[in-house]
Subunit: 344 residues, 2 copies
DNA sequence: TTGTACGCGTTATCAC
DNA sequence: GTGATAACGCGTACAA
């Protein structure tokens, strides 16, 4: 472990003429010692330069204070921002995080989970999409997922349906002649599908002409660019002279769309409005700040850890009462109006 | 730890009529068992549904296979991308990572380090800037820093000086009338200062007129925007009609600068050239793809972990020979020419 | 090739 | 308030 022998409770016990037990109590229940003896031990810790060893503590009491996390990647700003917020809950809850990047590789992710279990993590947060929630539920350990299929496990998700409604209503309020939604062909079970549903429902409710493009693959910047260029050409032709309100599935794509429009028309055309999703950095940094449906990432992260901590605490009781049904928390998105809808 | 009693080597030993030692050997030195017996044990593991416990293993042999990481944040794309690459070295080296976000808070970072040491991490990777390397060197544990002050510890850095030279030469090759460098007022000891020095040296060597702005604070997007607007107004006036080559300290700022120029002049002005630094996502996603000095993040991450692993392995030998001097690895940047210099 | 006995550093239980 | 002793689960000399 260390270079030289570690100083242990035994050494401190000998040095102070107390027993190991008393030293342990000094750390875990100091009030049970006299103030005087507390000071003696405190001094000894300094004299001997004691460093605590949590590994030994874990073995003895079983609490690792580890939470495992599996993310698809950290290139996507959404994930890195979420991770930032999750890690920051350390100040509040004290849990440490062991992190793996899945890269959409299901088998790798399985082996990562095994590794995490071997380190006796107390809970697991999953953001990757590969392993079905049914399988995750069989892991016999508290789990919370974020923005993914979550039928059999606890989860925290943005209210994507409401987000879709908000975006659509915003476009509708500007009296667009045609509303357009662009998204990937996501599964109907995935939370993301709520965005599509919200768009369609509002359009039907308000009897607004609308069209849905669900063919984005968007693996890379280049393919997204190509696909969106085609869509723009299509729209320019099909709805020439009409006011077009576009709700697109994320800010990265909204930005690409914006750039395509500006390059093609030399400026952001009067007859286009754009709303993105996520409120990721790029929506602010774009040449024209993009209106977007903002996910409350800090809140999602907090609720996820919080929900996990509840379950972990429950398990530590003598008679734990496991959840009958998975809990699904829903976080309200916040509509952010910027220049792609509120033209000056 | 678990809900029910964990299955241990003892249980397997009883089940198979071997000793604990033999079970242990099955995992750590399987060749020392007969194939037949290996199969018997393998079957027992399945029958009893054994789950390995690495915490116990750590306590027994002292190897946690943990590496600690302290980052300033994950909002900055550079850090999240770096973390992505570092985490991905798991496939190669097998080390697990415990991660803390420092948020520029020196005292918090100290307490994070204490926590990491309590978990007996074998090495530490530091990307945050607060704690002086002299203090880090006193930690008695292998350390590697990335792009920060590194006098007393091992480090991996981009060759910022070369990057500065590359960017400046690129601008010079386009026959600019005036070369400009925009940066924050960084410490001369910080690796980043190399970018400034490279710029100045090349300008002087080639006898090129140049000017350096070192007053960016860039805490937020808005302040950066304001500061750069002022600089642009200044440049427009001072060097009207002249071809201006700007080398700016990072891509985020390059993008802001680009947007300001386009908004002010309705297009990207003929008489401006821009080179950023980092090759971060935004440099590709900008309305006009930005030329930049690309940091080889994957290589930096690999070299950092690799350098750390070497030191950790050395410590495990019976007679470890610690490094006399800190090793400083330098990674060559790669110039990426895009449309802000190579106009069509 | 296999087994015995002990150590790793802490906590929990029970006694005083 | 304090102490002795037995866990926790695995690795490793040393012996057979």
């Amino acid at each position: 472990m260390g270079q030289k022998k570690n100083v242990t409770f035994n050494d401190i016990a000998k040095y102070t003429n107390f027993s190991k037990t008393t030293i342990s109590r000094y750390f875990n229940n100091p009030d049970s010692l006299t103030l005087e003896n507390q000071e003696i031990i405190a001094k000894a810790l300094v004299d001997l330069d004691y460093k605590e060893n949590k590994v030994a503590r874990i073995l003895a009491n079983g609490n690792t204070e580890f939470i495992g996390i599996i993310l698809p990647n950290l290139f996507n700003n959404y994930y890195s921002e979420m991770l930032d917020r999750i890690l920051s809950t350390y100040e509040q809850f004290g849990y440490k995080f062991l992190i793996f990047i899945g890269n959409e590789n299901e088998d790798h992710e399985r082996s990562y989970i095994d590794e995490l279990l071997a380190y006796k993590i107390e809970g697991l947060i999953i953001l990757s999409h590969t392993i079905p929630s049914k399988e995750l539920a069989g892991l016999q350990i508290p789990i919370v997922t974020i923005e993914r299929e979550d039928t059999y496990v606890c989860s925290v998700n943005t209210d994507n349906y409401m987000g879709g409604c908000q975006a659509t209503c915003l476009l509708a309020s500007h009296n667009c002649d045609i509303l357009i939604h662009i998204n990937s062909s996501c599964d109907k079970k995935s939370p993301t599908y709520g965005r599509v549903q919200g768009f369609i429902d509002i359009c039907q409710e308000k009897h607004l002409p609308h069209e849905v493009y669900l063919k984005m693959t968007g693996d890379t910047y280049e393919t997204a660019q190509k696909q969106l260029s085609e869509i723009v050409d299509n729209l320019d032709q099909k709805y020439a002279g009409m006011k077009k309100g576009i709700f697109i599935s994320n800010d990265t794509q909204a930005n690409i769309l914006l750039n395509i429009l500006i390059k093609k028309h030399k400026c952001f055309p009067e007859d286009y409005l754009i709303v993105g999703f996520d409120n990721s950095l790029i929506s602010r940094e774009a040449i024209i700040p993009i209106s977007t449906v903002g996910q409350q990432i800090d809140k999602i992260a907090y609720e996820a850890v919080s929900l996990l901590v509840e379950q972990m605490n429950e398990r530590k009781k003598r008679r734990p009462v496991p959840l009958k049904e998975p809990v699904h928390k829903v976080i309200t998105p916040i509509l952010i109006r910027r220049e792609t809808t509120e033209k000056e």
